[in-house]
Subunit: 169 residues, 2 copies
DNA sequence: GAAGATTAGTTGTACCTACAACTGAGAACC
DNA sequence: GGTTCTCAGTTGTAGGTACAACTAATCTTC
């Protein structure tokens, strides 16, 4: 690593990004909690399942898709199961594996809460930016994700919204 | 709010930003935890105090500066006090208020852990970007912060790194 | 085909955070 | 000058997350 400390411009960018990191998750959580009784991460889990065939995925695949560790997902799945939003059952192909599936109530919950969540994202992020900035943000976040180790790079790479291949050179 | 859902480009930007939100805090926390035994937020608290006159601030002022709620800061201060990194004492000017001050050990801890933290920020964020992108990121984060309610706008506005005034119109 | 290594997932524990309830000190108002 | 309101901070509790330890099934290798 190069020990050089951050310049004025770099520090300004970092301080603002760190502030966004501190505040934005709270805004998302609190909108979803008050409107739907879900955390943002729980919403992501349900929403990801809702896009899967049969509304069913293997725990490991879901963990990778949502960038969660398996223990974390396991705890969250337990909680969502207690709320009757998902159910788990052994995978017929591999006795080690567990499948997790959205219940009817879970699917309904996604449909009910999606518009409010979208509106929050739009209001706090997208509508704050110009179209050009939206494009710049995509590139910037993509560049950062490439540095965030296997989870950021590889996990993001097999998401529906693929990162473009690393340019040669 | 306008109910329009997100376009392809908007969704791409949001998915990537959400992924950064999910992964970056973990990277910061885990570097600081393994190298210094601190969470990122604890580091911010110590670091903010280290820049204050007498290494002392009122709890409320520190909470605003670090974008934390008072209960959150109070718990964290308790923990840092148990670790002998800070101390608290009643404010002489206002018997309701509490001052929090960095101990010698706390100051040492900031000095010891700052370079590693800086290097992590540089490696995962700054060095991933071009100089122009650093500038774009500053503008983008500033724009988002303006939408993040009183905490984002006002709290950020009396930070050392002020947001530029909202342009007229 | 048995021993060891790897993979999938759960569970336990400790810590962190949000939210609500609470204490106690100033301010405002009359 | 006492009642009420607001402000500063702490505490209790419930839920979320990380990390490590664990169980059980599959793969590997000979």
């Amino acid at each position: 690593m190069d020990g050089k400390s951050l310049s004025q411009q770099e520090l300004a960018a970092w301080v603002r990004l760190a502030t966004v990191l501190e505040l934005l998750p709270g805004v998302l959580d609190s909108q979803l909690r008050s409107d739907a009784g879900l955390t943002h991460f729980q919403y992501i889990v349900l929403s990801t399942l809702s896009e899967a065939p049969q509304h069913t995925m293997r725990m490991t695949a879901l963990a990778a898709r949502t960038h969660a560790t398996l223990p974390r997902l396991s705890h969250v799945a337990q909680r969502l199961q207690d709320l009757n939003l998902v159910e788990r059952f052994p995978c017929p192909d591999d006795a080690r594996a567990t499948n997790i599936r959205l219940t009817a109530a879970g699917l309904q919950k996604v449909h009910d809460s999606a518009p409010g969540h979208s509106a929050t994202v739009r209001h706090h992020v997208i509508d704050a930016l110009t179209a050009e900035q939206v494009h710049q943000l995509t590139d910037i976040a993509t560049a950062v994700l490439r540095r965030l180790g296997p989870h950021g790079a590889t996990a993001a790479s097999y998401t529906r919204y693929d990162l473009p291949a690393t340019p040669p050179g």
